[in-house]
Amino acid sequence: MNQPSPRNILRWFDPRHRQPGTWAFILNRITALGLTLYLAMHLIVLGKLAQGPAAYDSFVALAHSPLVKIGEMLVIAAGILHGLNGLRVAITSLGFATRYQRQLLWASTILSGILILIFARAMFLGG
């Protein structure tokens, strides 16, 4: 079942028979990669601050496009999901609340959803 074989690769993309915790694990990995990419971009772009006002201000003007806003919203969503799920993993890994793993998973997912909606409202509807 768990032996690597070409046939098992296809199982990766089979969404059935997965525990909620597995989804959390997959989501944590995907958001990790996205956030790492964002961190690199963020550090590079902020380098414009060292080039003076003209370089930075013209970049910020460019960053007002709707496409950038959608990208920023994705980063915020990834950060919230990764942060709260990570906190859940940290709590249970250190031996706390191990009897309430399932409840913690739902709590972190629901809280993430609420926070993402609040941020989306602030970003796209202005408050």
Partner: protein, 122 residues
């Protein structure tokens, strides 16, 4: 604390796993402050060069940002290593990758510190 479980790859040293677990909440706290200050306290959201420079005049800001960049880079590259471990790399590939991450991480942290100090002294 009863027992520390290690749900990630067993090939990952326990120390690295704990490092991610400990730096994660620290990053979460600094990120929350970063967001509150940048987007609620700063009237226009620090969107101009002049505003950023004024914000960095408070010495707490560059100190916080430097701590932030150190933890964020280290946490993110430790996590990347964990993902690569899941691909079952050979010892040789893993050693090369470790060096790559070490060089990349040190460069990113040194650059981040330089940038924060440059902005603070502008």
């Amino acid at each position: 604390m009863t027992q520390i479980s290690h749900p990630s790859n067993p090939k990952e040293p326990l120390g690295l796993w704990l490092f991610k677990i400990i730096t994660g909440p620290i990053i979460l706290v600094i990120l929350t402050i970063h967001f509150l200050v940048n987007h609620l306290l700063a009237p226009n959201g620090l969107l101009t060069y002049a505003e950023v420079i004024a914000y960095y005049k408070n010495p707490i800001v560059p100190i916080m940002e430097i701590i932030f960049v150190c933890f964020a880079v280290a946490h993110s590259l430790t996590g990347l290593r964990g993902i690569v471990l899941d691909l079952n790399p050979s010892q040789r590939i893993l050693r090369i990758f470790d060096w790559l991450l070490l060089i990349l991480g040190s460069t990113a942290i040194l650059y981040g510190i330089w940038l924060a100090l440059t902005i603070a002294s502008a």
